[in-house]
């Protein structure tokens, strides 16, 4: 036991003290936060570029309708100037020219001319302005012609927007507000996290075994400790490295979250919401109203309605079992081969179920009750990822129990087989290893 501990400590310190580990661990959250931050920043950020758009209006109806908007200014120009502008737009200082043809009421067409690639936002903004103006104008005429009093208000009242809140009835008959979107995000991200960790740390175990075999130190080591102790120390030590990394990320993430909340104060959030609503059409009062009931709370409520203890428990369970299963198999592969090319060949069949389950993660999370989801979450080699994708949606208890028991049994079997292969393989050099050979090793007496 003390030997296992020594190895564990050694493996752990070796990795944690590495510069690359420290850099990756510290930088990763910043990198991710940075990427998301940039995306959010640019989507929220006001377009501050100063632009002046020349407007040539053949209908003369829009004059005055185009008030300056933020950093975009409109300048109405006569026909003569328009003709000249078209040929020397660059020197004119205008950002672009909006041409409103005389027949816009019937053709529903206008033109925006520029020598630059115009931002989509600007075009949308103009389209919205023109459409709204024409629509209002036409409606006004209809209202006047009909002679019905208060028609304008009555029409406005007919506008309807239905919000669907999804409720899920649990086995106890209790209805809870659930959101497929929240569950989907939870499923998908947990599946991904398990995939990355199992893959990354499993590969680390394999590399560590290969390194010992390649440098030939292995013979000295296993003349001091049992191969099983060596393997256990390695696997646990590496798992602790992963745990350390996750802990650091959680702590950094927590700090980051607080910082972000401080930065996006409630005011900013409201602004964000409003500008969003505006762009989606302010003519939709129902939606605006829905947005006013704090969306953050809504999401928090939906998250709260997920079965958090179960999810956390399963996450830890599938994470550990999946890691144990794959790292012991990969450790055995590392022991069986003695060069990198062979290892590539052997790694693929071992990790294939893992890759398969990550490819199927999307369809599984989209339809968590389907046949595909069922089988992949029961079969032990894919279940660590597939089952995690299903749990946020909730599932019958027997399926979970079956999946977990099968996984535990398979993991125990895999560790046992891997230990045998490991023992034989460590001192086997210059032998091309294939499946038949491995089966033979399993039958060796140690």
């Amino acid at each position: 036991m003390s030997n296992t501990f020594l190895i564990l400590k050694q493996e752990y310190l070796k990795r944690v003290k590495k510069k690359s580990f420290i850099i990756l661990t510290v930088l990763m959250p910043f990198l991710i936060a940075g990427v998301y931050g940039l995306v959010i920043y640019f989507s929220v950020k006001d377009d501050t570029e100063e632009r002046t758009i020349a407007v040539y209006d053949e209908t003369s109806l829009f004059l005055g309708e185009f008030s300056d908007e933020g950093s975009t200014k409109y300048h109405f120009i006569p026909k003569e100037e328009y003709a000249g502008l078209k040929s020397n737009l660059k020197e004119s200082g205008y950002y672009g020219v909006l041409y409103i043809p005389a027949n816009i009421y019937t053709s529903n067409q206008a033109q925006l001319i520029s020598d630059k690639q115009l931002p989509m936002e600007l075009a949308e903004q103009l389209e919205r302005k023109l459409s709204r103006f024409i629509e209002n104008d036409k409606r006004q005429k209809v209202v006047e012609e009909s002679g019905i009093p208060d028609l304008e208000r009555k029409l406005a009242e007919t506008r309807t927007s239905v919000t669907l809140s999804t409720l899920k009835i649990s086995e106890t008959g209790e209805a809870k507000k659930s959101s497929s979107v929240v569950a989907f995000i939870a499923s998908y991200s947990m599946g991904l996290i398990i995939y990355f960790f199992v893959f990354m740390y499993g590969a680390m175990v394999m590399k560590s075994v290969m390194e010992e075999k390649k440098s030939r130190i292995i013979e000295v080591i296993i003349s001091s400790v049992k191969p099983s102790q060596l393997m256990a120390g390695k696997i646990i030590g590496t798992a602790l490295v992963g745990l350390t990394q996750v802990t650091i990320w959680v702590v950094l993430g927590g700090i980051g979250l607080v910082a972000v909340q401080g930065f996006f104060s409630p005011d900013t959030a409201q602004q964000m919401g409003q500008s969003l609503m505006e762009s989606q059409g302010a003519m939709n009062p129902a939606m605006t109203q829905a947005a006013q009931s704090n969306p953050v709370n809504e999401v928090m409520e939906m998250i709260g309605n997920l079965n958090i203890p179960l999810i956390l428990f399963s996450f830890v369970f599938y994470f550990l079992a999946g890691y144990l299963l794959y790292s012991s198999l990969l450790g055995a592969v590392g022991a069986a081969v003695d060069n990198d090319e062979d290892s590539q060949q052997m790694v693929f069949p071992v990790t294939f179920p893992l890759i398969l389950s990550i490819m199927l993660l999307f369809p599984i999370a989209k339809n968590p009750e389907g046949q595909l989801a069922f089988w992949t979450s029961i079969i032990p080699l894919t279940s660590p990822i597939a089952m995690m994708a299903r749990i946020p949606y909730g599932l019958p208890a027997w399926e979970l129990v079956l999946s977990m028991s099968l996984l535990v049994l398979t993991t125990i079997g895999a560790i046992y087989a891997a230990a045998k292969i490991y023992r034989v393989g460590l001192l086997m050099y210059g032998k091309k290893v294939n499946l038949k050979e491995l089966v033979k090793w399993l039958r060796y007496r140690s």
């Binding site: 020594l6 190895i7 050694q10 390194e211 010992e212 440098s215 013979e219 001091s224 140690s446």
Partner: protein
């Protein structure tokens, strides 16, 4: 007293026999040479002693008791294929390996510092293995083998990779270790070092032990009744005197003295040979030729292969 004993050890790999009914016993504080051609089964035997593999049959004993897993901390093993963690600092690495053999951290550091000083490699304590020369790595490896003061030391080809100066240093250390109470089993193809160091040997060929015993007795056993005689006088007289019972292998003449290499073919003795020659020549030197371990090795293996 026997420190180590292997009784009737058998080991089969797939279809090849690695060891067939091999027994050896090693006296305390002696140096035991495990000899044999490549692939004879030496490394397998060594791995069995180290509990890396288990024998199919037979038993091994340390200090009179059946060996268990717990005994491996009493063994120091230097494998033929050396290796250390390339990226690890050598001091740190040596401490780790000593701890795996059951030493406490403090004890390991103290002993290691002593050895590092002795081998003049203290300045390399914080260097990584990959920065060291091969010879330096061998020194580190040797230190990690002996630092936990094992009762039984097993060296597989200890001199390979050492230059003659360092090989001598190593030899001296091996003798020192014995003086301090260690028992040593070593396997080598360097027969010169066997003659120099080994008290006893066992010769294994094709999984079978074909010879064992004290080194000098074995050499005695393989002697071919060859004599080197330096004399003054006439060779013709010598030839006449010797007759058919003796066979002249080689004869060289020079101004100062002549050299004769002779072998007796049937039952004769040193004295009879002297008596035959004394009347006819003046004998300046008379020496029986004892075969080197190299000769013993070759003739024993060739004989065994003929059978």
């Amino acid at each position: 007293m026997e420190l180590f004993e292997a009784r009737n050890v058998e080991k089969v790999f797939a279809s090849t026999k690695a060891l067939t009914n091999v027994s050896i016993s090693v006296k305390e504080q002696s140096i035991f040479g495990l000899l044999g051609p490549n692939g004879a089964g030496k490394t397998t035997l060594i791995r069995i002693i180290n509990q890396i593999t288990a024998p199919d049959q037979g038993e091994i004993f340390l200090e009179g008791k059946k060996m268990t897993r717990a005994d491996i901390s009493k063994i120091g093993y230097l494998p033929e294929e050396r290796g250390l963690y390339k990226k690890m600092k050598i001091g740190e690495q040596a401490i780790y390996l000593a701890q795996l053999k059951g030493m406490s951290h403090g004890e390991a550091v103290r002993n290691l510092k002593m050895w590092f000083e002795k081998f003049d490699i203290m300045p390399w304590w914080n260097k990584k293995v990959e920065e060291l020369s091969k010879g330096m790595q061998q020194k580190v490896q040797f230190i990690t083998t002996v630092v936990h003061r094992p009762k039984l030391l097993i060296f597989d080809e200890p001199f390979s990779g050492f230059d003659p100066i360092n090989a001598n240093l190593l030899k001296a250390e091996i003798l020192n270790l014995r003086k301090d109470g260690a028992t040593i089993i070593f396997s080598t193809h360097n027969m010169g070092s066997v003659e120099e160091l080994c008290d006893n040997i066992a010769l294994i060929n094709k999984s079978v032990k074909i010879e064992d015993g004290p080194t000098d007795q074995i050499r005695e056993k393989y002697k071919a009744n060859l004599f080197d005689i330096r004399y003054r006088g006439s060779f013709e007289k010598v030839e006449k005197a010797l007759g058919p019972a003796y066979q002249v292998i080689k004869h060289t003449e020079s101004e100062k003295e002549n050299l004769l290499k002779v072998k007796y073919t049937n039952g004769s003795s040193h004295n009879q040979l002297l008596e035959t020659l004394l009347p006819v020549i003046e004998i300046r030197a008379f020496e029986e030729l004892i075969p080197s371990m190299n000769d013993v090795f070759i003739s024993a293996v060739e004989e065994a292969n003929k059978k």
